[in-house]
Amino acid sequence: MGLEEPGFSAYIPLAYPSPTRFLEVLEALVPCTDFFEIGLPSQKPKYDGPTIRKAHIGALEALGEAEAGGRLLSFLETAARILRNSSVPYVLMTYYSDHRQRVTSLLEAAGNLGAGCVLFPDLLFDHYDHMQDYIEGSREAGMKPCFFASSRFPHRLLAELSRRDPLFIYMGLQPTTGVELPIGVARNLALARKLVGEAYLLAGFAVKRPQDAQGLVRAGASGVVVGTALLERLEKEGPSEMRELACRLRKAVKEASMA
């Protein structure tokens, strides 16, 4: 699986707002999304801001918390089928800490379900020693690895990750999703681009406006992910307004290279 470049990706937590409505959301977004980032709802979404955290909680509640793990996967199967039919690629996003004991099986399952990769944003920060296992597990499951980096990140490691033939390197522009701090994200992205060479550089966290998304591509991003802004639009206005935003975002991203 390769990713469109420049690409626009929508992040949605699986089974949010409810399993049924999630599928509606997915279908609504398909026309305006190059690839999806599907988050597995977590009890401890460490890097997520209030909106997505609430979404995770909502999703877990909707699935029935106790046995969420099992149901999540089976529900993912449904979602994956839809995406396969519409031939929109997707990647999974979930916290490594949530799966420490069963990472291999998660990777296998994801591979079987056609995911492009499984992104563990906390892998390199809290489980650095498992990086190699993760890379191998991904390949064994027929996927590429993908990596999450932050805006205080070792340069040499960024360069090294780019040499591991990743599906993408995800640049977390902000410290937490949906929260926009006054950070020079374009500067950071431009530097990251220098460090990762030709690798697919995906930028995300608190991107909200089409012109911002466009700016990120100009600064060096291969693709842009938007989550919180879409969820907020969905909650406040509804699925079609959400789709409308996604389309504008995608359009801005696509037009970035023409400017």
């Binding site: 955290r53 390199l124 937490t176 701090l181 500067r187």
Partner: protein, 425 residues
């Protein structure tokens, strides 16, 4: 020798990525989101900067010049003689006490207050224990023309008169914490009208004060990566000044800013394979708050009240209540995230000393070198003396004298009284 024009951001060279600050997930809000209303914007930007070098704004370079940077690197020849190691061991120290407020703290107070002013702030607020940080902020605020409000732990407020009066002379408003000014303060006073205060509580009050009005910014004395990065002017100057690569580089650790500022540029060279291969980096802390020697490496609150995000660091637990040592600046429960990471990787080696041995070393140093060290810095002095005394062969030790003790005479008075001031060494 010139003043550096950039700060060094070690995150760019760390062997592993630095675990980010996170929200405690204990409510529906976000401490991280709140930072925009607490910290100066530009500080936030620096906290999340991917670059290896962060340009120092020209106004800050000018202010560094103004306060007398670069600070000197001195050779402790008299101390070498007193220790009987002359000709074999060479001891150097970088003297941050030469700065106007008597410690390295002004290195970050200046940019932070400048950044607050860029945000249009008319007042900066912060906490202070012994007063080193508060005095640095009061000074920077006076120079930059903004007001300063300093929440000073009540026990220090009552006992450490020197720095309090000086802060007030500089125009800062010094408030004993807990105070009636904030919800957190009133709550503490309700429980105990004679509450002695704690650094954690004072932080909470300062932040609450900032959040409860317009035109205010909180400025942080240590621990935040952006803040400790400001201190790298020390270590960059040092690289220019050092006549030889040391076997040991030593600094004391409170929140970690002087150690980081002193050692990171050298550690960076080591990490990039450009030098300092043989150098050991020693972090001297107090047995009263032995976070690096005895703490756990885990996520914990930056402050006891959890008004700020969590950081992954060596910690004694954010509710750690240290004994009342003279080196009040070392009584913090944690250590800066990058310092903690380096310690976990063995690149920084911690050692803890008790107050008695530290002051003995401090007096020996004062009587050899003519500088009374700050009680905090005296921990580095102790470590350097220990290393020098024990070393067998040719050894080069460099330590950071992060501050002088001219305003810590109350501590020295107690020590001299107890030892009868007898000759040492």
């Amino acid at each position: 020798m010139a003043i550096p024009l950039k700060w060094y951001n070690i995150s760019a060279d760390l062997p592993r990525p630095l675990p980010p600050l996170v929200d405690p997930l204990d409510d529906g809000g976000s401490r991280i989101a709140l930072l925009t209303r607490i910290l100066p914007s530009r500080l936030i930007d620096e906290e999340y900067n991917l670059s290896r070098y962060i340009p120092i704004p020209p106004e800050v370079v000018a202010s560094y010049h103004r306060i007398g940077r670069p600070t000197p690197l001195l050779r402790a020849e008299s101390l070498e003689r007193r220790l009987g190691v002359q000709g074999r061991v060479r001891i150097y120290y970088k003297y941050e006490g030469a700065l106007p407020t008597g410690s390295h703290k002004i290195n970050t107070a200046l940019p932070q207050v400048h950044y607050a002013r860029l945000d249009g702030a008319e007042e900066v607020a912060t906490e202070t224990g012994a007063g080193q940080w508060g005095l640095a902020v009061a000074t920077a605020a006076s120079i930059m023309g903004v007001r300063a409000k300093v929440f000073m732990t009540r026990s220090s407020y009552e006992k450490k008169r020197a720095r309090r009066v000086l802060m007030e002379s500089l125009g800062a408003q010094v408030v004993p914490s807990p105070s009636e000014l904030t919800r957190a303060g009133r709550r503490a006073l309700e429980k105990d009208t004679r509450h002695p205060g704690s650094l954690g509580l004072a932080i909470t009050e300062a932040v609450e004060h900032v959040l409860s009005g317009d035109g205010r910014r909180y400025v942080a004395g240590s621990v935040l990566e952006s803040v400790i990065t400001h201190q790298t002017v020390i270590g960059q100057e040092l690289l220019d000044q050092l006549p030889e690569e040391p076997d040991y580089m030593v600094a004391c650790v409170g929140g970690g800013s002087n150690m980081a500022g002193f050692a990171y540029p050298a550690i960076g060279l080591r990490l990039r394979g450009e030098g300092f291969e043989k150098t050991r980096f020693i972090a001297a802390e107090s047995t009263a708050s032995p976070r690096l020697t005895r703490g756990e490496y885990r996520y914990d609150g930056l402050d006891s009240g959890l008004v700020l995000p969590l950081a992954r660091m060596y910690t004694l637990g954010r509710n750690h209540v240290p004994p009342a040592i003279h080196a009040a600046g070392l009584r913090y429960h944690g250590a800066a995230p990058s310092l903690s990471l380096l310690r976990s990787l063995g690149l920084i080696e911690p050692i803890a000393y008790n107050q008695e041995e530290v002051f003995k070393a401090a007096l020996l140093f004062a009587r050899s070198e003519g500088i009374v060290p700050a009680p905090e810095s005296a921990h580095a002095v102790k470590a350097a003396i220990d290393i020098a005394s024990r070393s067998r062969g040719d050894t080069v030790v460099v330590f950071n004298l992060s501050g002088h003790g001219l305003m810590d005479f109350e501590s020295y008075e107690v020590i001299l009284r107890n030892t009868g001031g007898e000759s040492l060494g």
